[in-house]
């Protein structure tokens, strides 16, 4: 009996020792418990285009108004309150003043202490009423519109417009903007990425390297595609999303991401937000992806059966499922913002709060 027990113990120890060789554990990637908000629990519309974290307040730009979640309650601003349009496409926070800027289908609105002031192409110098992107830097509000970019100087009230007449922009359909004190980047639909140097006042352009195709022909040759949907500039790194893959640019080298050579669940990327120089979140039509510089994690309802799904892809390309019980409201993700360790997601079927779980 004693002999049998020792043998069992010895075999168990051997199995445990050999286990890592046979089944390598996936990299530790952040896990979340998702709480989802829809019209069933206060959201004015399930189509959420943009999300913004403002301390304890969460702003959601929906197809039917601008909703703010505070103290476990939703409040919705509509055109009756002065909002430019019911469909809110983009959001930005002026961290200095606490004002929120909302880009809509019919103008740019400023929400300040509950008061909404709206700027349109008719009542102001705004270049176009369709405001796809907005970003606040210092006392400048930068907007990406369907007729070029523009900068609104809050100090002087001056509007400066940027289009094919004064920048290297070929198309004027600007889709996204990321403004910082040093650089401002525009994502332009069909015209790549525009870079504005705040110090020199000069514009530069990143698009198809050979000038003949819309995309790079060789990996890491340049911006992956000219149809840019989103840009995020953080720690001197540009993250750019397109409908045909994504790119990272450090000022000298490009690194491109496709489903075939990365953990991206789809090349069709709506939105990208860099955490720092190494890490970024990608919002695609087939789920949310997180890249930590080496490995990838994807969060979504399963495309097959809708059940919560999380997968982790390591540096070697090994994909490991992780057991989860919750998922974002939908796999079509349009935006993300951070609240400490938590994440908030804008999706095509609701707003999701990803609550970071201890691992």
């Amino acid at each position: 009996m004693k002999k049998f027990a020792l043998k069992t113990l010895w075999m168990s120890a051997m199995l445990l020792a050999a286990a890592p060789l046979a089944f390598a554990a996936p990299p530790e990637m952040p896990r979340y418990r998702f709480e989802n908000f829809t019209t069933a629990n206060g959201l004015p519309d399930n189509h959420v285009f943009a999300v913004l974290v403002d301390g304890d307040r969460i702003w959601a730009g929906t197809e039917n108004g601008l909703a703010v979640y505070e103290n476990h309650e939703w409040k919705t601003y509509t055109t009756k309150d002065g909002l430019a349009h019911r469909a809110v496409l983009s959001l930005a926070l002026d961290k200095n003043t606490g004002d929120v800027w909302a880009g809509t289908m019919a103008g740019l609105s400023r929400i300040s202490g509950g008061r909404i002031d709206t700027y349109t192409q008719l009542n102001s110098g705004l270049s176009n009423d369709v405001v796809y992107g907005v970003s606040v830097e210092g006392e400048n509000v930068w907007a990406a519109t369907a007729a070029g970019g523009c900068r609104f100087d809050l100090r002087t009230g001056q509007w400066s417009l940027y289009n094919e007449r004064n920048t290297p922009m070929v198309e004027i359909w600007t889709y996204a903007v990321s403004a910082t004190p040093t650089k401002v980047y525009y994502g332009v639909w069909g015209s790549g990425v525009l870079e504005y140097d705040q110090k020199t006042g000069r514009w530069d352009k990143y698009d198809d390297p050979d000038g003949e195709n819309e995309m790079v022909l060789f990996k890491d040759q340049g911006l992956i595609h000219e149809i840019v949907t989103s840009v995020s500039y953080v720690d001197n790194i540009l993250w750019a999303a397109t409908y045909f893959g994504d790119s990272r640019y450090d000022g000298r080298y490009w690194h491109n991401f496709l489903t075939k050579d990365s953990g991206l669940p789809s090349n069709f990327t709506n939105f990208v937000k860099g955490v720092d120089a190494k890490r970024a979140w990608f919002c695609t039509d087939k789920g949310l992806a997180y890249y930590d510089g080496v490995s990838w994690a994807v969060y979504r309802p399963s495309l097959k059966d809708g059940k919560p799904e999380m997968t982790v892809r390591d540096a070697e390309g090994n994909v490991t499922p992780v057991a989860v019980t919750t998922a974002p409201a939908h796999n079509y993700v349009l935006g993300i913002d951070f609240q400490g360790d938590d994440i908030w997601l804008a999706t095509a079927k609701g707003l999701s709060h990803g609550i970071r779980q201890q691992q």
Partner: protein, 634 residues
Amino acid sequence: MSWRNQTRMRAGVVAGLALLAAAFFTVALWTGRAVHADERDSSSDVLDYASPLEVLLSPDGARLYVLCQQSEEVRVLDGASYAAIKNIAVGRVPRGFSLSPDGARLFVTNSWDDTLSVIDTSALAVVATWPVGAEPSSVVEDRAGKRLFVANRISNDVAVLDAQTGVEEKRLLAGRGSSYLALSPDGSKLYATHVYPNPSPHRTAPESEITVIDAARAVVADRIPLHAIAGVFHVAFSADGRLGVVAEYHPKNLVPLAHLEHGGAFEDTITVFGADVGKTVEVPLDELERYASQPFGVAIAPDKSRIYVTSGGSEMVTVVDVRRLLRFIHTHPGPFVQDLSASANYVVTRIAVGHNPRGLTLTRDGRRLFVANRLEDTISVIDTRTNRVVSTIALAGPKKISVLRHGEQTFYSARYSFQGQIGCATCHIDSTFDGIQWNLEPDGFGRSIVDNKLLEGVKDTEPYKWTGTNPDIPTECGPRTEKYFWRSEQYDNLTLADLAVYIRSLPPRPNRWRLANGELTPAQERGKAIFERAVDKFKKPIPEYNRCSYCHSGPKGTSQKIFEVGTRKPTDNTGLLKAPPLTNIALTAPYLHDGSARTLEEIWTVYNPDDRHGRTNDLTKDELNDLIEYLRTR
């Protein structure tokens, strides 16, 4: 040379006279009578009046600080004897001041040079002058002494400054014409008011707000709406912080301004708010034949028994019994604003003071109330137990009433209108404009809505009225005004002449969009070229009458001629309008004769479909922006 420049040249003389006068200060009883022509100095000299606008007591009550707008100084008086101690020169046209919580520093906003003077109250000297925003109008330091908040009238914001260095941290969006500030007694919240209404749709009631700022975080925490209010002035709190009050104008501009005797053009009101009230409540100060025209300064007694409100046009202080007011509010459903019998329920008395009373302050025990009579160079001292003026402090300076001063007194006084309801300054706040549109009787009821115009720089821009039918200022301000506005005939010829001289003397404020070196920015240069062009983008000549620079020619931007620019509305009697001056055009939204264009952009994006108001439809959006950038420099 402008009268202000002349005034500045004489500053040294004033200071000398003031010091001399300090030895012979006088305290005289004021009789409350009108100024008569025989007291008037018929010379057109510019006299160096003090024009006390605001008044403050040091925390220990030992000193009385008087902010003198015309002499551009703070006069320091002994708090007990009222003897002059020192005059401290500050910046141009100071408008507001406040003490640090410990009383060690006195901050002064200089509205015309966009600076803040910091006065050391021990040395009684300016120790720093800091640049701030456009037209700073009042200032408050937080309890911790970390931040200063400055209300900027032109930039429509409240700037947040480091209280030690003056370095600006940020600007918070406030109401249009941001002007007056008060800190809640616990120091947690800052309340800001504004003198022009916020933008609202054409021919709707004006909308104003009290901007509530979280003092610790320096962000806007809330905005208390003030519906149908245009012109909000001082704000004050009870010592326990449970009652707040603002002084304000309630215009009735959506109905024809026809008969003052049938209900008037304005209600002069206060809005009370806070825990004692439970909600925001507007109550009138007026009663029949006793109007409280141009309410401005407010103070609440330390024991919360009384609210005191100055009325610049009615030359009096209204005393409100707080207990009766709260009982009235809590037992009546309201609204009260149109009820001229309401004030009898809570107004205790009305105390006559001097010409154009403005700022006021109470002693710590609440026994004495000091009121700055701006256009009389006096301070009324009121015994709050008897509600009587017990003495009047005469500030050093000219005793004769100059033509200009008499004209200015006439401009601000409501005594010439029926029942003393309104004065010129009721619509032309601080001699500017009010940002609202009126339906005046001469054009017919419901006809020819007109936007109120800026007065500064109005000299030599005749003819007047939007239609240019008044050839000169006496015609504009004389019989027409008496008949259709005042509903009385009280101006004598001298008074009307003096009023016209005063209005013609009003200089334009410094333009904030021009660079300090006088040059134009690249965008402004491009806009100037568009303004002056004679050929459109398709190389077609632009007819003279369709060029910006033809109709808006000359230094003030008006050819003084009549044009039809396609802006006639169905309710207008005529489409023929005088080209209005462009003086400080950036400040005077809304635009066009009826105020239908909310912004400069809308003049051309909405109201110029046929290119009759200048050839503009060939311009790109960038070019229109450039044109507007240039116009802002005018």
